[in-house]
């Protein structure tokens, strides 16, 4: 599919998602209107997890094959994971304040998500500082693999720690059909957005590598 058609598809899916969130889905009875944050808070978290998984895949594949494209996948996916993770960490406290009475509590899901976000932000900083080092992709790959250990911890944190320490609801809460459909529409919209941003970022990284190589070649010839 051409990138323009794909962008139109994302635009249409986003519009449908917005319509569903603000015009169609019924207001949840306990939390009220604030519960609608759920429809972009959770898809953002899922997108961040998918991106972190791609960092893991790219890192493993880079160590196996030493092909640049896998390193680029890991680096670009980490960037997107941090972007979606940031959305989660901003929208979460804004949802928590009216429901829990506080913006932040050091409970398992919040704490593990913050740690994971910080680790991937550190990964990007390490890659940025070592951008011109030949060792950077290999070190980055090892970092990318180790960092992924945190992701299942975040996902299963509501099961792993005692219930009295939790503020987040358990996984797989039952939703009314309209809420369920809206959730899936939002998942689709965010997933398509993630794919589009990743494709664009990887293309940019490919051109950056080509320009850097050309520059090197030219300076060697002089």
């Amino acid at each position: 599919m051409r990138s323009t058609s794909f962008s139109y598809l994302i635009f249409a899916t986003m519009l449908i998602a917005l319509g569903a969130i603000f015009l169609w889905v019924p207001t949840e009875q306990e939390m009220g209107i604030i519960q609608r944050i759920f429809y972009f808070h959770v898809p953002s978290a899922i997108c961040a997890f998918i991106a972190f998984f791609l960092v893991f895949v790219g890192s493993v594949q880079y160590l196996r094959t030493r092909e640049d494209k896998w390193d680029r996948l890991a680096l670009c996916a980490a960037e997107l994971g941090v972007v979606f993770g940031l959305i989660v960490l901003i929208s979460g406290p804004l949802w928590a304040k009216p429901v829990w009475g506080v913006y932040w509590r050091w409970e398992p899901r919040l704490t593990s998500m913050l740690i994971t976000f910080t680790i991937y932000a550190a990964y990007l900083m390490v890659r940025d500082y070592g951008a011109h080092s030949t060792q950077a992709p290999r070190l980055g790959a090892v970092f990318g693999i180790l960092a992924f250990v945190n992701v299942p911890l975040v996902y299963y944190s509501v099961d792993l720690w005692a219930a009295d320490q939790q503020l987040h609801p358990p996984r797989n809460v039952e939703l009314a059909p309209a809420m369920l459909y809206t959730k899936w529409i939002c998942y689709a919209a965010f997933f398509l957005l993630l794919l589009r941003l990743l494709a664009q970022r990887m293309e940019l990284a490919r051109i950056e590598t080509a320009v850097a190589r050309l520059r090197q070649k030219l300076s060697d010839e002089v």
Partner: protein, 53 residues
């Protein structure tokens, strides 16, 4: 409707983060364009200096 401002703030924050990222990508694309022009000029200069030209 009491919590509408929290919903608005969260929603606005999401779009601000996404647009900031897109603007960053755009800036990098612009920077790459400039680097390519610079490299093209260097290539032309090198061709001009070479004995075959």
């Amino acid at each position: 409707m009491d919590n509408l401002h929290f919903l608005f703030a969260a929603f606005a924050a999401m779009w601000i983060v996404l647009f900031s990222y897109l603007m960053r990508l755009n800036r990098r694309t612009g920077e790459l364009g400039r680097q390519l022009e610079e490299l093209e000029l260097k290539l032309l200069e090198q061709k001009g200096d070479s004995p075959d030209s």
